[in-house]
């Protein structure tokens, strides 16, 4: 394939403005959030006093926590960019373009979209970084200069986003079997084996045991390290058990479904529980974090009144600020991820939606079904994750509930806000569904 043909294939066709805008926005949001998070964390790395390692370690933990929802969002953006090519790919195959040629065209387009989106994301980052600089740590604002990344780091992030898009497009091409007639073949539903539950339950039992034993026999630093590891283990268990739990629950929903939207929603989840989990897994992790944060915030409040050292109090306040920022960033990423995934799913099913409109199926039935297919797993996983985290920090949570009931309120509020944000994100794609439905 020569450069002229490639340019022709990559060029957007008339009426595809919306299809290009969605992945562009998604890549832009990913880039802005990555730069903002790294920029915020960078501000701690310039400190060199005795408390600096603690701040840096906490910043690293926050970055690690944000990695999963961030990767989920990045993957969703990349899949969206790759999927919109399906129809044209089929045509190219019919015209005799080799699979390699089709691959090059797809990867090139994804890279271009990602690069354009990432550049827009850099602009977004520059616009919001003054606000990030106003966040107080150690009694004063971080400052704009402190959160601004060096150009080489910005370029590295833009390059990383483009590489992610290229890899995802390449993997997507391998996964999606496109026949020359453009029919995406889906045979059996993807599963989620019960062994996940067994492994997850075992991990929770071990973690619970460690959480009870370690504080009694180890010092403060070891306890913090072990609790951090338990936190990471808890997140891993959630990822392991989540798809299986969704599958088992969706089977129950399917049995009980008496109206079309409930039947459709249950089947959508059962069709690919892992994909359903990917969509809500981020908020589940945020919910898991919220229990930790809520517990921490309430205990910090108790510490305030106990007359602790001023530097310790400052550290405690900053930990609270950091936890809240991490939660907010998680929610933003999950909301963006759900929006992008939904837009992607709608674009995938355009032909089907058109046929449903011809059959006279009300738009509301499909809209309610897809909303339910997100919200039901979301409610299940967010509550389940909160309970899971509650078990892991049971002694601390118990103390917090007794000495500061505000802890429970914080947890409930954070989870409720997260759920509301995802719901809003889902509703925001209703116009896309409506256009897909009514297209002639």
């Amino acid at each position: 394939m020569n450069a002229r043909v490639l340019a022709m294939l990559v060029r957007p066709s008339p009426g595809q403005g919306g299809l290009i805008a969605l992945p562009l926005i998604a890549f832009g949001v990913v880039t802005t959030l990555v730069l903002t998070v790294i920029g915020g964390a960078q501000s701690f790395w310039g400190w060199q006093d005795e408390y600096a390692p603690i701040y840096q370690a906490l910043a690293a933990i926050a970055l690690a926590l944000l990695l999963v929802p961030l990767m989920s969002l990045g993957g969703a953006a990349a899949r969206l960019a790759a999927r919109r090519r399906d129809e044209r790919l089929s045509t190219l195959r019919l015209l005799g373009v080799t699979p390699l040629g089709v691959g090059i065209a797809t990867v090139a387009e994804s890279a271009l979209l990602a690069a354009a989106g990432a550049i827009a994301g850099v602009v977004g980052y520059l616009l919001i970084s003054p606000l990030i600089g106003l966040i107080p740590f150690r009694g004063q604002a971080l400052g704009w200069q402190a959160v601004l990344l060096a150009p080489v780091h910005v370029i590295a992030v833009v390059g990383g986003v483009v590489v992610l898009a290229v890899l995802s497009a390449a993997v997507g091409l391998r996964r999606v079997v496109i026949s020359p007639l453009g029919v995406r073949m889906r045979t059996t539903a993807a599963g989620a084996h019960w062994i996940r539950f067994v492994l997850g339950a075992g991990a929770v039992a071990v973690a619970f045991g460690l959480a009870k034993i370690v504080p009694q026999i180890a010092g403060m630093v070891t306890t913090i390290v072990v609790v951090s590891l338990l936190f990471a283990a808890g997140l891993a268990v959630l990822n392991l058990v989540g798809p299986w739990a969704l599958k088992v629950s969706a089977r129950g929903w399917l049995k009980r479904a008496q109206v079309p939207e409930r039947l459709l929603a249950a089947r959508m989840v059962l069709d690919d529980p892992k994909a359903a989990w990917r969509q809500v897994g981020g908020i589940s992790m945020a919910s898991f974090m919220a229990v930790f944060a809520g517990t921490g915030v309430s205990l910090i409040g108790v510490m305030d009144s106990a007359g602790a050292e001023a530097t310790d109090l400052a550290l405690a306040r900053d930990m609270r600020t950091g936890l809240i920022i991490t939660l907010v960033a998680s929610f933003l990423m999950v909301a963006a991820s759900v929006g992008v995934n939904q837009a992607s799913a709608i674009l995938d099913a355009r032909e089907l939606h058109r046929s449903l409109h011809h059959l006279g199926v009300p738009l509301q039935t499909v809209d309610r079904a897809r909303t339910r297919a997100i919200m039901a797993p979301l409610l299940l996983t967010s509550i389940g994750s909160a309970l899971c985290a509650g078990i892991l920090v049971f002694p601390l949570l118990g103390i917090a509930l007794i000495v500061a009931p505000v802890s429970l309120l914080t947890i409930t509020l954070v989870v409720a806000v997260g759920i509301a944000v995802v719901w809003v994100s889902t509703r925001a794609t209703t116009p896309v569904l409506s256009r897909s439905f009514r297209a002639a």
Binding site: M268, L359, G360, A440
Partner: protein
């Protein structure tokens, strides 16, 4: 000729400068099978969409005469009323089935009735009986991806019948099938429609398919240029 089930008068429809329908008059009798033929861009799919109330013409009228109740003028109805008419009283079969991939065969068929308010158990039972009648007994719980092209079309035919539609529209129902499977699908389509006293309107490129219908209408440049009664 039996009493008409659908009457179209002076239909016109344009897309920008392109005239898709340029004054079509048509009457379809109850119980007949009508093939609409024409080259690509002749206006045959637009005609089918206007006759089925999917889109409205720029001018002219389409009147549906159900077996029970009074005549219904489609062109004067709003979008939601036409949608309701389509899901309750008309049936559709598309070129590639276009069934919901997440649902099983029987659920795809039952869904149409469930949307109309039928209880799930009753809808599933009725759907299973239609699948059995169309040679798909034992395949009720298969996902659409597990069925062959011909089987998918028979599920689509069952879906079109499950609500008791007395008028079925099919848009290139055999377009993606080989000749042998195409014959089987047409057998199923004709048996389930005209074979039950219902009416079938098929848009097709395939002369063999048209030859199986009781009447063929040729469309060119948005007008009906000929009508032939087949054997």
């Amino acid at each position: 000729m039996n009493s008409p089930v659908l009457v179209a008068h002076a239909l016109t429809k344009s897309y920008g400068a392109t005239r898709a329908l340029a004054g079509v008059d048509l009457a379809i009798a109850r119980g007949e099978s009508v093939a609409i033929m024409g080259a690509s861009g002749s206006g045959k799919t637009t005609l089918l969409h206007v006759l089925a109330g999917i889109i409205t013409p720029d001018s002219g009228s389409v009147t549906f005469h159900p077996s029970a109740g009074g005549a219904i003028e489609l062109t004067g109805m709003g979008e939601s009323a036409r949608s309701r008419l389509r899901r309750e009283r008309l049936g559709f079969v598309f070129q590639q089935g276009l069934l919901i991939p997440e649902l099983t065969a029987v659920e795809n068929v039952a869904l149409a009735s469930m949307i109309n308010g039928v209880k799930r158990a009753d809808a599933v039972q009725h759907a299973a009986s239609w699948l059995g009648a169309l040679g798909l007994a034992g395949m009720e719980d298969r996902r659409i991806g597990e069925l062959s092209g011909g089987q998918v079309q028979r599920v689509a035919i069952a879906r079109a019948q499950a609500t008791g539609a007395e008028l079925v529209f099919a848009d290139e129902p055999t377009g993606a099938l080989d000749s042998h499977t195409s014959r089987e699908v047409m057998d199923a389509l004709l048996w389930s429609t005209t074979g039950q006293g219902r009416t079938l309107v098929v848009v097709t490129h395939d002369r063999d398919v048209a030859a199986r219908c009781s009447r063929t209408i040729a469309v060119r440049d948005g007008v009906v240029v000929s009508t032939a009664v087949d054997a």
